[in-house]
Subunit: 377 residues, 2 copies
């Protein structure tokens, strides 16, 4: 099912074990649950969800899945223990494994940085004698940073996802021009159907299809309705395909009819900002600076973009790097990163325009993987 | 758009202000974000997502939405401030509002119990002088408990959602019997399409359609594929409709052909467990005990159900009460609660069977709102 080299997981784990040894961490816990999705579990084991993954001082991985049937079919780990054996309680699982491993007093156990404060207190109490570590800049963040730089097999997969996405973009343009997809729901369901027909796991996030009366919303609510799409004015279509775990993320804008004097600049400025951003991408440049270039450009025309310029994509629809123009954004662009560039402008009266492509950062600059566009009907 | 009486939000807020006064809480923060969805924001203001809601000592609500256009169209609050004014940083927003309110030293600020431990430390540092409260059993849990008991307008809405769900169940049976929905994707997309046509916001969660080769998974992965559905053997279909924010949640099993000797008991035991559970529902009974009745019943036949018997539904697909048979489950059934009953058994070789209905708890017993069924083809 997953065409991933068996060694990929092992190689990723080996690096983590090295980090754990260097930092003297006895156990690292990853948790993917309804409350906290963490694709690190899939990245390190192939298990697509609802599982704990524990890495131990003996360089062993213990996978604790909710659904053992799916784990046996899809996942790789040194040991597999059903989550039900711990009453599906993460604290209990960790406590039992720590006891089994006979950890010395003061042993460091690293838990996910998203662990709620009250749960943290519970771990401290239950794992009496251990040193519970819960921090932004620990092993989990190391994984987030590692995931942001795609390896050769991931890049290959992205070329495949981009090709499928581009096919569907072309089909969408054809069908919409032919008047065959004239409601938000028809457009969104066409994408769902075509995605499955091409072997995708599904869409990477809920498709946003917003006709002219709803395109003013950054993320239209509800995401799509039975209402009209691509009628007179500006319609936004934001979607992604999930293929072997990885998601694409593109946004098209459809423009029909003569635009009002206040609509035209939205379209022109967004197209220009998109091109400007892509031209500005270089390895070793701060991701923040690209966001700033676009915001400054819009500001010359007294326009404000109400969201970030872009974000990494991968096993999550939103992951590192962030292209947010904010002081605490310390991402630097590096070859192998795959991220979106998605300038957008919105007006409550005139509607919105967004153009979003997926970019692979290379040694020599930006490779635009997708063929998103503003389509004049 | 939202047919909710303006007073509903006010009444809910008034109760919270009273609790805040009684507990001497100066500010309560609710956060609905990509990291932590909290439907309390919608329940208290109508804002469907991506916003902060702050309640103040002067009994005022401050809504801080990401998308002000959507907030103006849908939400109610005393004050509305764009999240962008705080650089979309929750800590910063709280810090500025606390400064503006000139809170006395030691003022209690209650933040969501899902706040990660590192973020908690940040709040403590930034809101120097305030007492940051982050606990399981505070104001947020009070809201979770209050949300579990639906009021008259919510129950009315659920009757409407159930009617739409039941219509679609009937249609599904017809179309599947007629051979018109013969793949997982066709079934899932039919539901998406019918939901929108009936004015739903969408489905309440990703539809799970698992044909005979995949029904062994509790939550099949991927949720649906282009593969066959309702062919020989056991197929599971788990879906919900989202209507004005509230979701239904039902599971049908389709049985085609002669069952193997190992398949038949799955079907019979699940149907019996479903009926037994519903018969056992009474107000004032512990929710845990209902889960136990079903687990004990299965155990008589040496079968184990790998998931909980049921869960509340509402603005979330999973909310209180839980019908989990576990010592820490302290929910008691009360009139007005709406929850699922969903016994299921799974076999990696023979497939699975689950039957899930939505139940309204009344003074006199259980009212089964939905018409889920095991359908012999």
């Amino acid at each position: 099912m997953i065409n991933i080299n068996d060694n990929t997981y092992k190689q990723r784990l080996e690096k983590l074990y090295d980090w754990m040894t260097a930092e003297n961490i006895a156990i690292t816990l990853f948790e993917d649950s309804e409350e906290h999705r963490d694709p690190a579990v899939r990245w390190l084991s192939g298990m697509p969800g609802d599982a704990l993954l524990l890495l131990t001082p003996t360089r062993q991985s213990i996978l604790i899945p909710w659904d053992t049937n799916i784990a046996e079919a899809m996942a790789q780990a040194d040991t597999l223990i059903p989550y039900n054996e711990f009453g599906r309680q993460c604290t209990k699982a960790l406590q039992k494994i720590a006891a089994f491993l006979k950890l010395p007093s003061g042993a460091k156990i690293e838990i996910p940085p998203v662990t709620p404060y009250p749960a943290f207190l519970e771990y401290v109490e239950l794992l009496n004698g251990c040193d519970i570590i819960c921090r932004h800049d620990g092993i989990h963040s190391t994984v987030v940073k590692a995931r942001a730089i795609k390896d050769a097999s991931e890049i290959e997969r992205y070329r495949k996802i981009a090709a499928i996405t581009n096919d569907i973009i072309d089909l969408l343009e054809q069908k919409i021009r032919a008047g065959k997809l004239n409601t938000e729901a028809k457009v969104a369901l066409f994408i769902e159907s075509e995605a499955r027909a091409r072997g995708c796991e599904g869409t990477g996030f809920g498709t946003l299809a917003a006709g002219p009366t709803r395109s003013f919303g950054i993320h239209a609510f509800p995401p799509y309705t039975a209402g009209p799409f691509a009628t007179d004015g500006l319609s936004i279509l934001d979607f992604g395909l999930k293929y072997q775990g990885y998601t694409s993320d593109v946004t098209l804008t459809f423009v029909r009819g003569d635009l009002a004097p206040d609509q035209e600049p939205l379209v022109i400025l967004v197209q220009n900002a998109h091109d400007l951003a892509i031209k500005s991408l270089k390895p070793s440049v701060s991701a923040l600076s690209i966001g700033k270039i676009v915001e400054d450009y819009f500001w010359e025309y007294e326009k404000v973009m109400p969201h970030n310029l872009g974000h990494g994509i991968g096993l999550e629809a939103h992951e590192g790097p962030s292209l947010r123009n904010r002081a605490d954004n310390d991402w630097t662009l590096e070859p192998g990163m795959i991220f979106t560039i998605e300038p957008g402008l919105y007006d409550v009266k005139f509607g919105g325009c967004r153009l979003e492509d997926d970019i692979l950062m290379t040694e020599s600059g930006a490779e635009v993987l997708t063929k998103a566009r503003i389509i004049q009907l």
